[in-house]
Symmetry: C2
Subunit: 252 residues, 2 copies
Amino acid sequence: MTRIIAVANQKGGVGKTTTAVNLAACLAEMGISVLLIDLDPQGNASQAAGVDKHSVPTTIYQALLGHVPIQNAIVATPYENLSLIASTKDLVGAEIELSALDNRAFYLTTALKPVIPQYKWIIVDSPPSLGVLTLNALTASNGVLAPLQCEYFALEGLSELLHTIITVKRSLNNNVNIFGVLLTMFQHTLLSRQVVDDVRAHFMNDVFQTVIPRNVSLAEAPSYGMPVNHYSPKSTGAAAYKALAKEVLTRE
Amino acid sequence: MTRIIAVANQKGGVGKTTTAVNLAACLAEMGISVLLIDLDPQGNASQAAGVDKHSVPTTIYQALLGHVPIQNAIVATPYENLSLIASTKDLVGAEIELSALDNRAFYLTTALKPVIPQYKWIIVDSPPSLGVLTLNALTASNGVLAPLQCEYFALEGLSELLHTIITVKRSLNNNVNIFGVLLTMFQHTLLSRQVVDDVRAHFMNDVFQTVIPRNVSLAEAPSYGMPVNHYSPKSTGAAAYKALAKEVLTRE
Ligand SMILES: Nc1ncnc2c1ncn2[C@@H]1O[C@H](COP(=O)(O)OP(=O)(O)OP(=O)(O)O)[C@@H](O)[C@H]1O
Ligand SMILES: Nc1ncnc2c1ncn2[C@@H]1O[C@H](COP(=O)(O)OP(=O)(O)OP(=O)(O)O)[C@@H](O)[C@H]1O
Ligand SMILES: [Mg+2]
Ligand SMILES: [Mg+2]
């Protein structure tokens, strides 16, 4: 069975893109075939995976609305076993167009069907909202990975996200489950430790053992269009995402 | 003339809420009457200003749609000269309802009219998107303050934001201008310094002299419902926002 993971959290800047790209790249480095889908009009995942989003002829926008078959939107990245469907700001148009349609939540599910068997893992990067694009990611996936920054506002927003996942499970996609909560940008501060303790107490086994530390290599790598395991393989950021890749394989 | 400032940037987690709340609180501490409006369904600004958003009878949602006069939604905060209009996740409903209406961008402008003369500054915290809520903030304001995290993805998104401001200025609100770009979460890394140099080279006088450092007090303060100048008045975070408050007064 192909694992289809929506990386989602409506709170901004918690490490969704960083997690989607680096987890995908670390799985690919282990020889696993991975498709990374950029479902955020900001197009950050496309850039961080080393693809020039402005030169890609077909993006997720056209595939989502059924204008072209999804195969036409898949591009190779410079990294073996890692394929990408890029996004650009045109995707903002899809948000408006889809909002008016009855079955607006199912467009990604329908578009993805023909290519699912070609990949072991499909990882979808979502925008910072619970709008129709994120809804499409939650409906198409069989698991949600929720990055959670070790800070106060992020903790506040988690219950909102979990509430949305339950609603999606009840009315749109019976297969969707919490794949895991990932603690990100951990620093050795009282605040970080309090958040970690709180989250582990509430969500117990739903929280990954792996915790991603704050590490400057993770912030630098995207400006070179490289995942961290290629940019700085010996950094604590790369080690953490390699550990996460190993841990997710135990949860298949 | 009342200064109406939209704090906006579609990139998530760049310090919009932190800037809106702390700038508002530092201006209020100087004896200036300030209204802080939380236009983000996450309701982070409401919490950080010390207001329990769940116990507020009327929020920005009802005022925006004209269900109640905006005066009914204004609540006192624990801080002198600082008033708030809170938000809750109901505001997600407004995004959907407004999207279908012709003059959807003008709801905040219309709702705000009666109370503008009562305040010297009105500061609006926006969500991480360029959707209808942010559009309302840009249309109602006479200046946009764009927080910019000193990191790669944030830099990428700035041109998108500036493009949107120009479009709003041309078609919706001739008064709106770039009030300033604020560099946030500055750390002494090569990446931070590169971003600062890039931004100052491109945007010159549109960039505030004040740079906000990464400082743990800024991350801790919201969990106590206190702006940083009350939570930790001697911290570098408080000093930076006090300096910003002084600097914005020179740009009136
Ligand atoms: N563990 C980390 N250590 C240091 N920096 C990090 C880490 N994770 C992410 N970052 C940086 O923090 C910023 C926010 O991360 P990222 O863009 O991945 O979050 P996001 O949730 O995708 O944001 P958005 O809500 O805008 O989509 C980026 O500049 C990124 O490079
Ligand atoms: N200068 C700073 N130093 C340290 N932490 C900061 C600083 N500014 C903001 N933070 C913390 O970083 C996180 C992101 O900031 P904030 O929530 O203000 O960003 P935002 O742009 O409002 O996010 P969103 O896009 O979700 O609305 C918060 O946990 C906040 O407490
Ligand atoms: Mg992202
Ligand atoms: Mg915010």
